[in-house]
């Protein structure tokens, strides 16, 4: 079903919550890096004004080796001494592969970030979808009539969280920019 030795994922790095730099709130310019244990996969732009609640909402297509068991998300910020990792979370591949939902289900996932001392440092919100290649997709008939559960009307940005599809209803403060 997947090509040779890797799988394609569509990952949207949505936002972060309550992320601190040495217990103080982050002022600005946080960004997220996604990687497997062995190689980097993608990184987001810096959020110039998000502070401790950065909002990126960037979709990236990445290839992960088929044997990979985790992908890692790190939230970093630029300091005078270079890029500093503020918090990290490991996303088990089993959280979006396997289970009873169809392959191309759009999973909304959130994880606790921990800093280099292992202390809690905020939450990271992402969405992940396994990309199914065309020949396999035809049997799944991803037709236009499928829809997820509608949004809360009070979600941010006037009712639509860009990039967060009509999926599962979400509480607005989780995805606020």
């Amino acid at each position: 079903m997947f090509s040779m030795a890797s799988s394609t994922l569509e990952i949207t790095v949505i936002s972060g919550e309550d992320i601190r730099n040495n217990r103080k709130p982050v002022k600005k310019n946080a960004f997220a890096v996604i990687r497997t244990d062995s190689q980097p996969l993608c990184r987001t732009e810096m959020d110039k004004d998000g502070g401790s609640y950065p909002y990126w909402n960037e979709k990236h297509n990445v290839e992960i080796p088929q044997h990979a068991r985790f992908i890692t998300v790190e939230v970093q910020c630029k300091t005078s001494a270079g890029d500093k990792t503020l918090g990290m979370a490991r996303i088990p591949v089993s959280d979006f592969v396997g289970g009873f939902v169809p392959q191309s289900y759009l999973h909304f996932l959130s994880y606790r970030l921990r800093n280099s001392n292992g202390e809690r440092n905020g939450i990271i919100n992402v969405s992940v979808k396994a990309k199914v290649p065309e020949y396999a997709a035809s049997s799944c008939s991803s037709t236009a009539t499928t829809i997820g559960v509608p949004f809360g009307k009070t979600s941010c940005y006037g009712g639509v969280v860009p990039g967060v599809p009509v999926g599962v209803p979400i509480m607005k403060q989780y995805y606020q920019g």
Partner: protein
């Protein structure tokens, strides 16, 4: 297959909106009332609808009066299939305004499966009619200010549920003048039930039993206009007691009508043969009972002898507590916590599906014992579990197409001697389904005979099973949303196990309603409810995507 769209509008278009082909169901019930609802339900027909209130306002109405401004009123009609207009309601008259915001709302039953065209007419009500009751105003005597039409679902699917339309002249009349705009705002009526809760006791009752004392219970009936009476409520039976004090009694406005309607309160001595002996009765309205409580006085029961003489008895009825309150409907429990209105799901064509899990842990008490939360009262009084199944199930049944749904028990020891945390309530090995609320009730009653209450109280297994079902339906490309009702009296033995299962299920189309009956540790449940904003965390650092739990103490 799980393809999603990046904006709500696009997603809705893909579904095709709410419009479906008009069915043969007639549209005359757009002005809904309880009698109609009962009619359909008692015949097993599933009228799928939600009550919606329309608020109207207008801007820049035409000025017809010479000396002052127009005095506008709006009338809402449903347009039937044959084109005839049927009035649904009207607003009040607002004096002297070209930009009225009417207060009086018009209630409409929103039916999911049919197109409901609405027509709005705005009139200027002549001064001479200002003191006449609204309903009797003849519209043809008023000045017509404009008309607007739309379909009900158009209003409901708008972002803020407000639709603004240009008013125009009636069809056939040429008129290009600007007649102003009408704004229609729709809200689902919170299905509040007004209830009255009372605690009653009697003293000095006559003894009807030979070798022991009477076993009294009360039956309250409503007197109908035709002269007959219908029982609306019964208390539990208090054994062997001439001064019984009953558990709190709850009557809803739907049951007694108005507080001044006369009610007959009869006190019977329970006989296991079913032929209960009447000890005495009295006639009181709900308002009278309230006065009895305030005055802290009793009222004597009477009994009519064979000769027709009414004898005043020594026995007296007292009202110790009287309290009026409003109870929310189940719909509110589901929708609050997600900042979504129940209609959001339904207006996107979602079908709701129900699942139930019942607590069979030993803390409920031996079902044979009248104090047990699982006691099945022969006089018909429902226990907390039965009440929860009925109240929630009856509403959801409406929206569930085939009325068959999964029902489980947890924490009980089944026939093979092992304790199960998710066993089929119907006792079957293969299927977990029960048919309708009645099927659920009978499966529950027979499970009480076949299952031994045990423990500990764990929800994880039930939640995992429900999540599995919800995920499977996602792949069938169906728009199903699942609501799991867990009824429990308990303290969770493993809170983290439950949190882990909830976090894993948090991005599925599933909501969990936990109803806590007497004794439940509400502190724990409130943690799971996460209404204070603390997202649940699993033991592996995953955080819940959303709050899927709502906790309601019974």
């Amino acid at each position: 297959m799980g393809n999603y769209y990046s904006d709500v509008e696009g997603g809705k278009q893909a579904v095709g909106g709410v419009q479906q082909s008009p069915t043969a169901t007639n549209n005359n019930n757009a002005g809904h009332n309880d009698a109609v609802e009962f009619f359909y339900r008692s015949r097993g027909l599933h009228q799928r609808f939600a009550r919606v209130e329309l608020s109207l306002s207008a801007i820049n109405l035409r000025d017809r009066d010479i000396i002052s401004k127009s005095d506008p009123m709006a009338v809402v009609y449903a347009k039937n299939i044959d084109g005839k207009l049927e009035e649904l309601g009207r607003t009040e008259v607002i004096l002297n305004s070209l930009n009225p915001t009417w207060i009086e709302k018009v209630t409409v039953a929103f039916q999911f499966e049919i197109v409901q065209p609405l027509v709005f007419h705005v009139y200027d009500v002549d001064t001479k009619f200002h003191n006449i009751p609204l309903k009797t105003l003849k519209l043809k005597d008023q000045d017509f200010l404009g008309e607007a039409t739309c379909v009900l679902s158009e209003v409901l699917t708008k972002q803020n549920r407000s639709l603004t339309l240009n008013l125009r002249s009636k069809i056939g009349h040429v008129g290009l003048r600007n007649l102003g705009v009408l704004t229609i705002h729709a809200e689902e009526t919170v299905a509040l039930r007004r209830v009255v809760e009372m605690m009653l006791h009697c003293s000095y009752l006559d003894n009807k039993d030979i070798f022991s004392k009477s076993d009294p219970f009360l039956r309250i009936s409503r007197i109908m206009e035709s002269g007959g009476s219908i029982p609306i409520c019964k208390t539990e039976v208090v054994n062997n007691n001439l001064n019984p004090k009953w558990k709190p009694l709850c009557l809803s406005v739907q049951q007694f009508g108005s507080k001044d309607n006369p009610l007959i309160i009869e006190c019977f001595d329970f006989n296991s043969s079913g032929k209960h002996s009447l000890i005495g009765k009295l006639q009181k309205s709900v308002a009278d009972l309230e006065k009895l409580q305030e005055g802290r006085s009793g009222e004597n029961l009477t009994i009519t002898s064979h000769h027709g003489h009414k004898k005043v008895l020594k026995g007296e009825l007292f009202v110790d507590q009287f309290c009026e309150k409003e109870q929310y409907s189940f719909l509110d429990y589901v929708s609050c916590g997600f900042e979504l209105n129940f209609l959001d799901y339904v207006s996107c064509g979602f079908e709701l599906n129900f699942m139930v899990a019942v607590d069979f842990t030993a803390s409920n008490g031996n079902p044979q014992n009248p104090d047990s939360l699982h006691y099945i009262d022969p006089s018909g009084q429902l226990n907390s579990y039965q009440k929860a199944i009925m109240e929630v199930g009856e509403v959801i049944q409406f929206y569930d197409s085939d009325r068959r749904y999964p029902a489980w028990g947890f924490g009980g020891k089944t026939f093979d001697g092992t304790i199960s945390h998710c066993f089929n309530l119907n006792g079957s090995a293969g299927s977990f389904e029960v048919e309708g609320v009645e099927g659920n009730m009978s499966a529950y009653a027979s499970a009480l005979h076949n299952v031994t209450l045990a423990g500990p109280t764990l929800f994880g297994q039930v939640i995992k099973t429900a999540a599995q079902i919800a995920s499977q339906y996602v792949s069938y490309n169906s728009k199903k949303y699942f609501i799991l009702l867990i009824i429990t009296d308990g303290v969770l033995t493993d809170l983290q196990e439950t949190k882990d299962a909830l976090v894993k299920a948090s991005d599925l189309p599933l909501s969990i309603l936990i109803v806590g009956v007497r004794g439940a540790d509400f502190g724990q449940m409130e943690v799971l409810d996460a209404d204070k904003g603390q997202r649940l965390e699993s033991s592996t650092d995953r955080v819940a995507t959303r709050d899927i739990v709502q906790f309601v103490p019974m």
